[in-house]
């Protein structure tokens, strides 16, 4: 069997078997994500040696069948998904505060993993619609695990996710009516810049931006991500919003006509900068720890949108690398940050940022994880975030006419520095006397640090990574 398919099949089959046997054992999920990770790495190896491959599902010819495409990027994304699922699963299995014990978290997270894996592989517009619905419903079910207090956020999340899917579907219907195929690779050669195509792409883009919580359609994200159980928040922020982003990237950079991309690029880049500044500002103002981290997700997605917009406007190929480096660095850092934030707020017994006063003494390792992950989000060297920002800034600084955009990146960096240091500064205060139920769990705290260490590890092989990705990332 093709290793990429194995990487998809493992979590799917595990989820079904766990449901059938009513087993809620963490160990199965962890084993499945480990196996999926190994398979994804095997697929990555295969792709880098033999080149990318197309799988025709059902063995039919291309416009008829749905096709999977295994490229280096999709194999990398498969590995990334499995890795995050594994790391979050390890934490969720260990921590008392993960709010996942004896719940349906385990099968649902496996479904989440499987639907993301099929998203990375698929190239079919309608298949993406079904996957996005699957992803959205799974995410909503996971958010509602947190109990009644999260139901309001879950309901709004579900409604917006459905509305976004319907926008996307209307656009797909228009494209199908115009060109008669659903396969994005075939569409790439056919698309013309006429009114129908333009409108279809507009509707699709609005839908995907709403799903990926890109500014200004991000308002549903902070309550949903902050209200979810900690492990779920990490999965949602690190992985789920990247799904629609991937589709958006595929459509605009591979399918849409170049001149349409040129017109749309500046608008996307501007929305990216606006996201950086406004969500950064909101993160500085919010009183709750997890809401702060959630706003930071919105802000960080602004970098990806900025990179995509400029990629479309100027066609600089390095920006592909910047975009995906951002996705990987942000995923790892944000997983760490959400896990640390959740662990700290549960250990200290308050959701308020002010409760973190003296956290360096009470929950030192989790606070360290938060700071390390925050460093990557700001883009401090030597971290994955720094690498991404470095690749993004290079083409911006070379051309004087691009400097206003570079200023936007600078503002975003300042905003992220502000909200990260807001927490860090508070944590170095003298700690108040601990609450009576204060009972820290060092192992769980170390597990929250793991993804953050990996994102700093990305910088070790920084130059090779950039070079390699420039060769494969499109």
């Amino acid at each position: 069997m093709n290793p990429a398919l194995l990487s998809l099949l493992t979590p799917l089959a595990t989820a079904i078997l766990m449901l059938l046997c009513r087993s809620r054992a963490a160990v199965w999920t962890i084993a499945a994500s480990l196996l999926s990770l190994v398979a994804a790495i095997a697929a990555l190896y295969q792709v880098t040696t033999d080149g990318s491959q197309l799988i025709h599902l059902g063995g039919w010819e291309s416009p008829l069948a749905i096709r999977f495409r295994v490229t280096a990027l999709s194999a990398l994304l498969l590995a990334f998904t499995a890795l995050i699922h594994l790391l979050v699963g390890l934490y969720a299995a260990r921590s008392r505060h993960s709010q996942t014990r004896n719940t349906d978290y385990w099968p649902l997270s496996c479904f989440l993993h499987a639907s993301l894996a099929s998203l990375w592989l698929s190239t079919d517009l309608f298949n993406w619609y079904v996957i996005l619905e699957l992803l959205g419903l799974t995410a909503v079910a996971l958010v509602s695990l947190a109990g009644t207090k999260a139901h309001r956020a879950a309901f709004n999340y579900l409604l917006l996710s459905l509305a976004a899917s319907l926008c996307y579907l209307l656009g797909v219907a228009l494209l199908y009516g115009r060109y008669g195929v659903l396969d994005s690779l075939l569409l790439a050669d056919m698309l013309e810049a006429d009114h129908t195509t333009r409108t279809a792409l507009l509707v699709i883009t609005l839908g995907l931006m709403l799903k990926a919580a890109l500014w200004p359609l991000h308002l549903w994200l902070p309550p949903a991500h902050a209200g979810a159980p900690t492990a779920v928040s990490a999965l949602l922020s690190a992985l789920v919003v990247k799904g629609p982003l991937f589709v958006l990237w595929m459509l605009w950079s591979q399918v849409a006509p170049v001149e349409l991309g040129r017109q749309a690029g500046p608008a996307m880049a501007a929305a990216g900068v606006a996201a950086l500044v406004s969500a950064g500002w909101s993160a500085c103002r919010t009183p709750h720890i997890k809401t702060l981290v959630a706003y930071s997700t919105v802000a960080q997605l602004g970098y990806a949108l900025l990179a995509l917009g400029m990629l479309l406007r100027w066609g600089v190929r390095e920006l592909h690398v910047a975009l995906w480096l951002f996705v990987f660095a942000h995923g790892l850092a944000k997983a760490s940050m959400f896990l640390a934030a959740g662990e700290m707020q549960s250990t200290l017994g308050s959701k308020k940022v002010s409760a973190l006063r003296g956290a360096t003494q009470t929950v030192p390792v989790a606070m360290f994880a938060f700071a390390v992950a925050g460093g990557s989000l700001i883009g401090l060297p030597p971290s994955g975030g720094f690498l991404a920002k470095w690749v993004l800034l290079q083409p911006l600084l070379l051309e004087p006419s691009h400097w206003p955009w570079a200023l936007g990146v600078l503002l975003g960096t300042l905003a992220s520095a502000a909200y990260v240091f807001r927490v860090i500064a508070l944590s170095f205060d003298r700690a108040p006397p601990p609450r009576p139920d204060y009972n820290p769990d060092p192992v769980a705290q170390w597990l929250t640090l793991l993804p953050a260490l990996l994102v700093w590890g990305m910088a070790l092989g920084g130059e090779t990574l950039i070079l390699w990705m420039s060769g494969v990332a499109y």
């Binding site: 799988i55 059902g58 799974t138 695990l145």
Partner: protein
């Protein structure tokens, strides 16, 4: 008789728009829900008019059956007649006009376009194992979509499991209800089975059959003919999971031993498709029934 067609189309169009508008702006929730059920009926007529009997079947069973019961099950004593009217948002009023023009001009040239896919479907229909093109697309050419779709139904049930059970006890049925329900039960099963069986060579199939059975299941549960159903009962669980389980098993086996993911071996396509359809029908019927009337609460709130 083009004029007669216009009379029909025009009336249907007005009915659809009026019902949709009334459902959104009715004074009471109850009225809105009833309007919406009527809209479902009219949609089924529209699909029939547009030459899509498969869809008319599905819409009749879903729109007039399952969704209606679902909406009624969420109506409560409190808040049923109190419908908060939001102040009309100026953006919400201005944008639709512009958007309608934009979309309509985008759709204007589409009726003249031609797609290569229908011809391809017809060309490969004889290799697909079934003779009804819609079923061939659903269960062979685009079977992966269908697998994911069956998973979506399952996920919806898993999501509902995390919530409160539906409200309260059902009142004791009147004798007339019991008698009528018992009379209809076998008929529902027969019609469902017939839809499933004819799906390979005529409109019908797993989803239509599953939804009809679910509509019957809901009614029977509400008059107490069916026992309480819940996830904790293993036969129920097996039925819910059967569709995805068989589908994934076929996918895995064809990828591992056969020629590729969901590539049915020549000659056995029809058997495999029938097996998958049978299991999917069972799953969809059980899952939709549980979605409406599943009441046992086993998880913490």
């Amino acid at each position: 008789m083009p004029d007669a067609e216009w009379l029909f189309d025009g009336t249907l169009g007005i009915l659809l728009l009026v019902l949709a508008g009334a459902a959104l702006h009715a004074r009471s929730l109850y009225a809105a829900v009833v309007m919406f059920i009527a809209l479902g009926l009219m949609l089924a007529l529209t699909w029939a008019r547009l030459g899509a009997p498969d869809l008319a079947l599905a819409e009749a069973a879903i729109g007039a059956g399952v969704t209606g019961a679902l909406l009624f099950s969420t109506l409560y004593k409190a808040g049923m007649d109190r419908h908060k009217r939001a102040t009309p948002n100026r953006i919400a009023l201005l944008l639709p006009g512009l958007a309608f023009l934009l979309l309509l001009t985008a759709a204007w040239p589409l009726p003249e376009m031609h797609s290569p896919l229908p011809d391809q479907v017809m060309a490969h229909l004889k290799d697909s194992g079934v003779s009804h093109p819609v079923t061939a697309v659903l269960l062979n050419f685009r079977a992966w979509d269908t697998l994911l779709e069956v998973s979506v139904v399952l996920i919806a049930l898993l999501g509902v499991r995390q919530l409160y059970p539906s409200h309260g006890e059902v009142p004791t049925p009147w004798p007339l209800m019991l008698a009528w329900g018992r009379l209809l039960a076998p008929l529902t099963v027969i019609v469902g089975g017939y839809l499933l069986w004819r799906g390979t060579d005529a409109p019908g199939g797993a989803f239509q059959a599953g939804t009809v059975l679910a509509a019957g299941g809901v009614a029977l549960r509400l008059i107490g003919v069916l026992p309480p159903l819940g996830w904790h009962q293993w036969p129920v669980r097996l039925l819910v999971l059967a569709g995805v389980l068989v589908f994934v098993a076929v996918a895995a086996l064809t990828a591992w031993l056969g020629q590729g993911w969901l590539h049915y071996p020549t000659g056995s396509s029809k058997v495999l498709i029938l097996l998958i359809e049978l299991m999917a029908t069972a799953s969809i019927a059980t899952t939709l029934t549980l979605l409406v009337v599943g009441e046992k609460r086993e998880l913490r709130p």
